[in-house]
Every structure is written in structure tokens, then in C-alpha cells.
């Protein structure tokens, strides 16, 4: 275990806690302040908190692992797909922000339930978000465990690493809420950016230079610099599926959805949209390059081994203390996502369940205390999930969370734009989408029925058709 690396990492964790106390001093101890920072987040902080929340452990480990297997074309489906997704900041984010200010919404399900005057739909919407976000939090803990094990050469176990990451995240979210979450995201976003750029520099230098690394990759692994790529992965159908997946899925991440509530003004959302293109262009390229180059140094990795290619490559070409700093960047990525997920799930259970069904007269101060307790409870639950199984990040995420949340997209668009939509149409949409997705996932529906596309394409067609068809066929008042 390198002393410099451990010292740097300890300092990083300590700064997170200090930022939380700084945020706490500015807080007003109400649920509105704890969950959405009193709707006061300005352009710079909003951009960083959106990006840092969006980019997770998956961005570091999963991207590199996928690029190792499938090649550099992975940059296309991740970089541009996520970049153009930011157009939804205008179509969805702006209206969500306006309604949040006007009606005092804190959770996504509040908006949906209120729009359609339906507690049932509100609970269904909430349930889908909770079910598909909890495993995602567990994924961050898994990433933390992997990074810790690598950082300490196995002296700290995967399990202990996952516990430590969870404890620190719980500490600063409990102390400072959304304000701490957003402020830490600024530092974590900068750390991610700097460490990924530095990692590319170090690894490419070790391989004989940037151009040399790319040239060698093209010569030795020509399938990794073209399509269909490694294992013939990138068919046109898969390519289009991923482009659509991020557009439908990312805005439905509850932790991104509520960030629109927390914006100070429309300018903050507008600036965030503009900056999403350059940040995805640069940040997403780095792990993809390192992952693909990994074949030059560590050919033949199998199973979940490619998920560790990024730390393996940095470890190969840099002193161990540099690896420690790099891994702090990875920790920043996963912690900035996990903290937001914990907070938003806590807000949803506090507002949509506790206040709605248990204590309707709960004061903002009461909600604030319940919210903090739920952060701890949810963290323990996700940690239990993380320690129960370790699966390849890429597979876990693409198979469950992303498509599962994308199903909510038609309902959200209808809530904001289509007056004839009603609760029956929305429930039919969610039911049709999730059932079809479950059918694909468990093999009840043959994969050939997706015509070569990822399940998200037929699932979204079914969800949209159900929404339109049932809304038109039932009473307008629902």
C-alpha cells in the first residue's frame, strides 16, 4: 500500500466531509432545502452536479471494460448518445423546473401524480424509480470495492472498500443534503476530468506515444478500430438502440430529474445543456481509449476482468502513488452518483410515501429528519445488495436499470406536453413497457422479437403505443 496514495485519498475523503459541513452551515433545515437546495443552484454548480451525477463508476470501469471487448467505436454510442441527450434539458428540464417552482414539487412522482390527479399512478411511477435505482447504487459500491482492492493491492478487501465508500457518502449526504451533494459534485467533477486526462497521458506515454498507441492498436487488433468491432458487437441496430437508450433513459434517472427542480433559473439549465457536448466528447473518450489500448498490454482478459483494465493500465505505467490519485478520480465518479441516488430515493420515500400515507401533516422540519434517517437505511440496503453478488458492471446496468427507467419516458413527456393523456394510458404504458422488458430479460419473449435491436426499442414502442391507445380509448378525465 503506497503511503502517498493513501494520504491523498484520505485527504480527498476529508475534504468531502468539510464541504458537507460548509453546506450544512448554509442550510435552513427544511425538506425543501435538504432535498433541492431551496432551488438555488446556479449555472456552474448545476452543470457540474448534472455531469458528475450522470457519470458514474460505470464511466470509469464499465466504459474501459466495454472498449476492451468491443473497441473504440464504443465512444460513438456513449459520447454522442449522451451529448445529444442533453437536448432533453430543454424539452423536459425547463418545464420540470417551471412546474417545480410553481407547485413546490420535490420528487418526480409528485409531478406525475399531480398532473394526472392519481395517487395510484404516483405510486407506480415511484415504485419503478425505486426498483431500478437501488441496484444502481449498489453498482457504485461495487465499483468502490474494486477500486479499493486495486489501490491497496488486496490489503483492503472488496467488501471493506464498499463499506468505506458507503459510510463516507452517507456522512456527507446526511450532513449537507442536496447542497453538499452539489458542492462535492463540483470537486468530484473536476477530479474526474483531470484524472482521466492524466491517465490517457500516462498510459499513452507508456505505450510509446498517443499516435503510436493508436497505430499499434489498428495493426494488432484491427477489429477494435472499426465496426462491427470486437465480437461483432456494433450492428446498426445496436448502434441506434444505444443512441435512443440514453435519450430515453438519462432524464428518467430520478437523481437527474430532481436536479431540474434545484436550478436557480432557466439560464442554469441552458448552460448545462450547452456544456454537455464538450464534456461528453472529452471525458468519455479517455476510458474508451485506455480500455481499447489495454489489449496491447493485457490481451485475453475474460469474464469481468476487463472492468479492471483502467486501473491495471495505470498501474502498469505509473508509480503506485499516481494510481492512487487516479483511483481517487474513480471514487469521485462513483461517489458523486451514489450520493445523488441516495438523496433522491430518500426524498421520494419521505414525500411520496411517508408524508403521503403515514403523516400527512409532517412539517418541513419533520420531513428533513425523516429524510436523513432514510438516507442511512437506503445505504445499508444497497450495501447489502452490493455484497451479495458481483456481476460485470456493464451487464448489470444495461440489462436492468437503463431500460427499466426508460419506460417512464413516454409518461413524463405526456405529463408535460399531451393534454389528452390520462392516468389509464400512463399506467398501461408503464405496465406494457415493464412487462415486455421482463419478458425479454427472463427469456419469455424470444430475443429474435427485438429484430436485432436492444430490448429498449420494442419496449419503447410498446410503452408509447399503450399510452396513446389507452388514453384515446378511455375517458379524457381518466
Amino acid at each position: 500500500m503506497d503511503l502517498i496514495a493513501v494520504s491523498f485519498f484520505t485527504a480527498y475523503l476529508a475534504i468531502m466531509i468539510l464541504i458537507a459541513f460548509f453546506a450544512y452551515r448554509r442550510s435552513t433545515k427544511t425538506s425543501d432545502d435538504y432535498f433541492v437546495a431551496s432551488r438555488s443552484i446556479g449555472p456552474v454548480v448545476l452543470f457540474f452536479t448534472l455531469a458528475a451525477t450522470n457519470f458514474s463508476a460505470f464511466t470509469f470501469f464499465g466504459f474501459a471494460g466495454a472498449a476492451y471487448k468491443f473497441g473504440l467505436a464504443y465512444y460513438g454510442i456513449m459520447g454522442f448518445g449522451t451529448g445529444i441527450m442533453a437536448l432533453s434539458f430543454f424539452f423536459l428540464g425547463r418545464r420540470i423546473w417551471r412546474l417545480g417552482r410553481e407547485k413546490g414539487y420535490i420528487t418526480p412522482a409528485e409531478l406525475i401524480g399531480d398532473r394526472f390527479s392519481s395517487d395510484s399512478l404516483r405510486m407506480v411511477f415511484l415504485g419503478v424509480m425505486v426498483v431500478f435505482t437501488l441496484p444502481y447504487i449498489a453498482t457504485q459500491a461495487i465499483g468502490g470495492g474494486i477500486a479499493f482492492e486495486t489501490l491497496t493491492d488486496g490489503e483492503v478487501s472488496y467488501e471493506l472498500g464498499a463499506v468505506l465508500v458507503t459510510v463516507v457518502v452517507v456522512a456527507y449526504v446526511t450532513i449537507g443534503g442536496m447542497r453538499a451533494d452539489a458542492y462535492t459534485d463540483v470537486l468530484q467533477g473536476i477530479m474526474m476530468f483531470v484524472t482521466l486526462i492524466a491517465a490517457v497521458g500516462i498510459v499513452s506515454a507508456g505505450l510509446g506515444g498517443f499516435t503510436e498507441a493508436n497505430t499499434r492498436l489498428a495493426e494488432e487488433f484491427p477489429d477494435l478500430v472499426s465496426r462491427p468491432g470486437g465480437r461483432d458487437y456494433f450492428t446498426p441496430q445496436v448502434w441506434l438502440s444505444f443512441m435512443l437508450l440514453w435519450i430515453f433513459c438519462d432524464p428518467m434517472f430520478p437523481q437527474l430529474f430532481v436536479r431540474f427542480y434545484s436550478a436557480k433559473n432557466e439560464k442554469a439549465i441552458k448552460v448545462s445543456m450547452m456544456m454537455y457536448a464538450p464534456i461528453t466528447a472529452i471525458v468519455f473518450l479517455c476510458p474508451v481509449l485506455i480500455g481499447a489500448w489495454g489489449n496491447l498490454q493485457f490481451p485475453g482478459l475474460t469474464g469481468s476482468e476487463p472492468d479492471q483494465i483502467l486501473p491495471m493500465m495505470v498501474d502498469e505505467f505509473a508509480p503506485s502513488w499516481v494510481l492512487g490519485i487516479m483511483l481517487a478520480g474513480a471514487f469521485a465518479a462513483l461517489m458523486s452518483t451514489a450520493d445523488s441516488q441516495l438523496l433522491v430515493l430518500s426524498s421520494m420515500l419521505t414525500r411520496d410515501v411517508y408524508k403521503k400515507w403515514v403523516k400527512a401533516d409532517a412539517s418541513q422540519r419533520h420531513e428533513f429528519i425523516v429524510g436523513k434517517a432514510l438516507v442511512v437505511g437506503l445505504a445499508l440496503l444497497s450495501l447489502a445488495i452490493a455484497l451479495s453478488s458481483v456481476e460485470t458492471l456493464f451487464e448489470t446496468l444495461t440489462k436492468t436499470t437503463f431500460t427499466g427507467l426508460a419506460v417512464l419516458f413516454p409518461t413524463t413527456v405526456a405529463a408535460l406536453y399531451w393534454r389528452r393523456a390520462n392516468k389509464w394510458g400512463c399506467m398501461a404504458s408503464i405496465a406494457a413497457g415493464e412487462l415486455l422488458y421482463a419478458g425479454f430479460y427472463f427469456g419469455v419473449v424470444p430475443s429474435s422479437y427485438s429484430w436485432g435491436f436492444l430490448p429498449v426499442v420494442p419496449v419503447m414502442i410498446a410503452a408509447t403505443a399503450a399510452l396513446v391507445g389507452v388514453s384515446l380509448a378511455t375517458s379524457r378525465k381518466g
Binding site: Y75, G76, E212, N214, P236, K270, M274
Partner: protein, 71 residues
């Protein structure tokens, strides 16, 4: 020109075109090296991202106005 940039049809067409360009099936097997030895697909996507940033900038400047325009 400014009037064109305030048309929702212009922006629908512009973003749709960029999205279609990202599904470059006409160049599926292109793999020749470009700058710094990067293969075609990486440079192509980087150029599209630059175009996307330019569109976002103009969209925010001319269409998404603070007075509630662009609704």
C-alpha cells in the same frame, strides 16, 4: 438569418439531421487512421460533438430565450 434561428422547424430539422448523421451506416466499415492515428469513427464522433455544441450554443442564444420563448 436570426428569424430562421427562431423557427422551431429549423431546430427540429437541424437536430434531426445531426442525429441521422450519427447513424452513419454508409461508413460502417471505414477504419482508416485520421489525426494522431485515431480511427475514422472516433474523429467522426468528435466532429459531431463539436457540431452539437455549436447547435446548442445557437439554440440557447436565439431560440431558448429567458422570456419564455421557444415554448
Amino acid at each position: 438569418m436570426a428569424q430562421v434561428l427562431r423557427s422551431k422547424w429549423f431546430w427540429a430539422a437541424a437536430f434531426s439531421l445531426l442525429f441521422v448523421l450519427s447513424i452513419d451506416i454508409w461508413a460502417w466499415d471505414w477504419s482508416w487512421p485520421t489525426v494522431f492515428g485515431l480511427p475514422y469513427i472516433v474523429t467522426y464522433i468528435a466532429v459531431l460533438e463539436a457540431g452539437l455544441f455549436a447547435l446548442y450554443f445557437l439554440f440557447a442564444r436565439y431560440y431558448w430565450t429567458d422570456d419564455g420563448g421557444g415554448a
